[in-house]
Each structure stands twice: as structure tokens, then as C-alpha cells.
């Protein structure tokens, strides 16, 4: 082999070695990230064999499931099946008779009200009817958590305006809850729950009784939280169009910096949204929307089609 060829070969080997080095650095970086990501392996919410009864009836019976970080768990089920009870257990508003409840890997089952207050700071809750404080204005409602924490008024106002912009209701800042429509109340409730950027958000039938466009807006908010804010959430509903929006669309930011909603398909398949169906306190289905539509269970089929 000529000397020039040998040199060339050596340079190539060195170059390849250099590339290899760069790859291994990148791999090391990614390994490092994976170590960080280990935190993501801890479920945001975990139920282990949770049982809760009211009187003689068990509303929840040996319920076990996990909601991973950044995941949205849609909880489906008819009225009175224990959907809302489930999310109240996460917040410690109710305590299980048996079983354990974990939030971010922390066993909160036996926490008293005082310890629970610390856990709740990281959880936002959106109630069925908004549950706004009637005696407080929209501003005071949204700023409630900040006022309680003694945040200076200037900072509180900035945060309140930012949250109200997020739900498209900045104009209603000085109104009283009685002056708002049902959909607006829900959106103020969402803004209030999201102050302080909680990493877990609970939606308790947020679209019940709302017109389709408003319901769609609320689902878009949930999608934005999931895809742009990396929020873990439980979304209690019995409306199938909510399920369709949440399982088939994702939020992204376009080149102009605007939030856009795109359907999953060729480019992306949504894996961060799962469905769980509860009936008589038991989980009768757990999986993706595709699995749900293919199920043979006659009750689920009737639930999906309405007949």
C-alpha cells in the first residue's frame, strides 16, 4: 500500500474514531438523561388495592392503577360508579378504607390534613361546576392560592392575568362568579387550579352540561397541559367526544409561536393518553382508545355507542 494511501486510511480511522467518540459522548449524555428520567418512572399517581365504602356499599373495590408522569388517564364510567371518588382520594378529600394511595411515589394514605396541604400544592383540581367562591371576584378566585401564600399583589396580578389569558378570559377579571356562564365558570376554575403550575391536574367532568364548542375548548386546554406543560392528569368524563379529542389530537407550537392542534397519524402516534373504565367500583377496562374500540365487552360496547 502506498504511503499516501496509508496516511489517508489512518486519517479516516482517526476521523471515524473521532465520530465514535462524539457518538459515545452523546450516548453518555443520553444515559445521563435517562438517569434523570428515572424520576419519570415513578408514577405521578398510584392506587394499590384501594377499597372505599359508603354505608353498606363499596363504591371502589380493590382498585389498582398508575398514572405515569406526563400521562393523561381518562376515567370513563356511568354516573355513580366512583369516578369522582377516585380523584377525591388522590387529593386526600376522602380516605380509603383499605389500600394505599401514592402521589409522586409518596404514600399519602395516612397523611393528616396538615401534611396533605403540602401534597395538594402540587395538584390542581377542576371541579364539575367550577366550585368558584361566590363571595370572591374572578381575580380573587384565581389569585386565591397566591393570596394564601402571601405572594405580593403585583406578582399575583401578573400570574392571574397569565392564567386567565391561558383560558381566554382576561376580560372577565373583575366579574363576580354569578355573572359568568357555566362554561366561563369552568374555565375560571381551570385557571384557578393551574396557578402555581401544578404537575398533576384532576379534571372532574369538566365538560358536563356544556355546549360542544365550549367542551372542545376545555379539552384543548387539557391537551395543551399534557403536551406543552408535561402535566400528568386524570380526566373523569362520560362523554365520548372528550375521549376522541384527547386520544387523537396533540398540541404543538408552530413557527409563528402559535399553539396548533394536530391529529395523530403518519407523523405521530399518541401514547401518553390511556383510558380506564370503572363499573361498580371495579376496573373493567384499561388501555388505549384503539383497544377500547376493539373490545368485545357488551357493556363497554353499549357505553361507546349509547345503545
Amino acid at each position: 500500500m502506498a504511503s499516501t494511501e496509508l496516511e489517508t486510511q489512518q486519517r479516516m480511522d482517526a476521523a471515524i474514531e473521532g465520530v465514535d467518540n462524539r457518538v459515545s459522548e452523546a450516548a453518555a449524555e443520553s444515559t445521563f438523561q435517562e438517569i434523570e428520567d428515572d424520576a419519570r418512572a415513578i408514577p405521578a399517581i398510584e392506587f394499590q388495592h384501594v377499597t372505599l365504602g359508603f354505608g353498606d356499599r363499596n363504591v371502589l373495590d380493590d382498585l389498582s392503577f398508575k398514572v405515569m408522569k406526563g400521562e393523561t388517564k381518562i376515567i370513563l364510567g356511568g354516573s355513580g360508579t366512583g369516578k369522582s371518588t377516585t380523584i377525591k382520594l388522590v387529593l386526600g378529600l376522602l380516605k380509603p378504607d383499605e389500600g394505599r394511595v401514592f402521589v409522586n411515589g409518596e404514600d399519602v394514605t395516612d397523611y393528616g390534613e396538615y401534611e396533605m396541604m403540602r401534597v395538594r400544592k402540587n395538584i390542581g383540581m377542576i371541579f364539575q361546576e367550577g366550585a368558584l367562591f361566590d363571595s370572591l371576584s374572578v381575580y380573587e378566585n384565581v389569585a386565591y392560592r397566591l393570596h394564601e401564600q402571601g405572594v405580593p399583589e403585583d406578582e399575583a396580578e401578573q400570574e392571574v392575568r397569565r392564567m386567565l389569558r391561558f383560558v381566554n378570559l382576561e376580560d372577565a377579571i373583575d366579574k363576580m362568579p354569578a355573572e359568568l356562564s357555566g362554561g366561563m365558570r369552568r374555565r375560571v376554575g381551570i385557571a384557578r387550579a393551574l396557578v402555581g403550575a401544578p404537575q398533576i391536574v384532576m379534571f372532574d367532568e369538566p365538560t358536563a352540561g356544556l355546549d360542544p364548542p365550549t367542551a372542545r375548548t376545555i379539552c384543548e386546554l387539557a391537551i395543551k397541559l399534557r403536551d406543552l406543560e408535561d402535566v400528568s392528569s386524570m380526566f373523569v368524563t362520560h362523554e365520548m367526544n372528550n375521549v376522541e379529542y384527547l386520544t387523537s389530537e396533540y398540541a404543538a407550537v408552530n413557527d409563528e409561536g402559535e399553539v396548533i392542534f394536530e391529529e395523530e397519524g403518519q407523523k405521530l402516534c399518541l401514547i401518553n393518553t390511556k383510558i380506564m373504565m370503572i363499573r361498580d367500583g371495579h376496573i373493567i377496562f384499561s388501555g388505549t382508545d384503539e383497544q377500547l374500540t376493539k373490545t368485545d365487552d357488551p357493556y363497554i360496547k353499549r357505553f361507546l355507542r349509547g345503545k
Binding site: Y114, M117, R120, E129
Partner: protein
């Protein structure tokens, strides 16, 4: 569950609520603004009905006792009798009953509505303890304002009695008020101010507990409100008997 066990459980719940409220009173954040607001709503807001009740109660006492006392030739003791009845019994009890109707019902209805519209749950979810934010300020406001309202009722009642004795029976004003001054002792006034403190605790704790344990929507709110007023009224009257006896023993009053 029979009625006796249910009542005992309710007594336990109410006592625990009061204990929790007072224990948390000294933990931060302390809701001072809320306390002043409640004191204004409960105290200043009740002033009109207390003034009217006090004045006419004093008046009717004179109306009923003057002729009897005159029959025995003791009409110069009218002021003493009216003042004693008012300061020891009627002032504290009537003020407490009026406040049960006005304040107790409002507290039970307000807290009950907050429960059924999930505002209490929302408050807890937002990291606020409803006992500290809602119950403690109301209890403190009642304990502070009810004795003050009672004193107002006593004074206005005596003025009402004086007005009737002078206006209807032609008794000199000085004679009425001098019998009041000579008859009433510090112990009477002390006893008359201790009672409303206990009544305030009864009204506040019963109303808050009934409100917070509301179930069953708007119908439940109505039920809680009625139940709060009835229970607190009965407890005030029953407690008054035992307090009267206890005060007789403690303050060494006549009747021991």
C-alpha cells in the same frame, strides 16, 4: 343508629370541631381580616335587632311588674327587678336566641351551600384548611361580639324599662335608675357577661358543624339551617339553667 348514639356522635363532632378551631387559631396564617369581617357582620349587623329586642323587653318587664310591685307597695323597686332580670337572664338569653336566629342560621346556610357547591372541597384542594379559614374566625367573632351585644341589650332594656315606668306610670326617672344602681352588683354583671361567652360557643359550633356536615343538595342546606337554629336555641336555654346554677355557686349569689 338510634337517636341517643346519633346525638352523642354529634356532640363529639362539634366538640372536636371547636377544639380544632382553637388549636389552629394560633397557627399561621391567622385570618385576622376574616375575623374583623365576621365581627362586623355578626356584631354590628345584629345591633338593630338587639336594640329593638332589648328596649321592648325592658319595657314589657316594667309593664308587667310595676302593677304587682305597686300592689305590695314596692313600686320603687321596679328598676331593680327589671335590671336584675335583664342582666342575669333575659339580656344574655334573648340576645343569644336572636343571634341564633340571625347569625346561626346564616352560618349554617353559608357553610352548607359551600359544601354542596364543592367550595369547601375546592378550598381544601387549594391548600386551605376550612376550619381555620371559616370556623375559627366565626367562633372568635361570636365569642367577642355576643357579650358586647348582651351588654347593649341590658343597657337598652333598662332604658326601655325606665321609659315605660316614667311614661306610663309617672315614676320619676331618678327613682327608677337609683334602684337599678343600688340593686345590681358586680357579680350580676360578671355572670351576665360569662353566659354569652358560653352561648357564643354553642351557637358558633353548632351552626358551623351543621353547615359543614350538610348532605343532599339545597334541601340539605335547608335541613342544616333549621336543625342548627333549633339545636342551638334548645342548647342555649338548657345551658342557661346549668350556668345559672353554676354561677350561683361560683359567685356566691343568692339562691345557693
Amino acid at each position: 343508629m338510634n337517636i341517643a348514639i346519633r346525638s352523642l356522635l354529634e356532640v363529639q363532632e362539634t366538640s372536636l370541631l371547636v377544639a380544632r378551631a382553637f388549636r389552629r387559631l394560633f397557627r399561621r396564617p391567622i385570618y385576622l381580616t376574616e375575623m374583623f369581617t365576621q365581627a362586623d357582620v355578626i356584631g354590628v349587623g345584629s345591633l338593630t335587632i338587639i336594640l329593638l329586642t332589648g328596649f321592648f323587653t325592658g319595657g314589657v318587664l316594667t309593664l308587667q311588674t310595676y302593677p304587682t310591685l305597686k300592689y305590695y307597695g314596692a313600686q320603687d323597686q321596679t328598676g331593680y327587678l327589671v335590671a336584675l332580670s335583664l342582666v342575669r337572664e333575659l339580656g344574655p338569653v334573648l340576645t343569644a336566641l336572636m343571634c341564633t336566629g340571625r347569625v346561626g342560621s346564616a352560618i349554617a346556610a353559608e357553610l352548607g351551600s359551600m359544601v354542596v357547591s364543592q367550595q369547601i372541597d375546592a378550598m381544601r384542594a387549594l391548600g386551605t384548611d376550612p376550619v381555620r379559614k371559616l370556623v375559627a374566625p366565626r367562633l372568635v367573632a361570636l365569642v367577642v361580639t355576643l357579650p358586647l351585644l348582651t351588654v347593649v341589650a341590658d343597657v337598652i332594656g333598662i332604658i326601655g324599662g325606665g321609659a315605660v315606668s316614667t311614661g306610663l306610670y309617672g315614676m320619676p326617672m331618678e327613682s327608677f335608675f337609683s334602684s337599678v344602681r343600688h340593686g345590681i352588683t358586680t357579680d350580676d354583671i360578671t355572670g351576665g357577661v360569662i353566659k354569652p361567652v358560653v352561648f357564643a360557643l354553642i351557637i358558633g359550633s353548632v351552626a358551623c358543624n351543621k353547615g359543614l356536615s350538610t348532605e343532599g343538595g339545597t334541601v340539605g342546606v335547608g335541613r342544616s339551617t333549621t336543625s342548627a337554629v333549633v339545636t342551638a336555641s334548645i342548647l342555649v336555654i338548657v345551658a342557661d339553667f346549668f350556668l345559672a346554677k353554676a354561677l350561683q355557686v361560683i359567685l356566691n349569689m343568692p339562691g345557693k
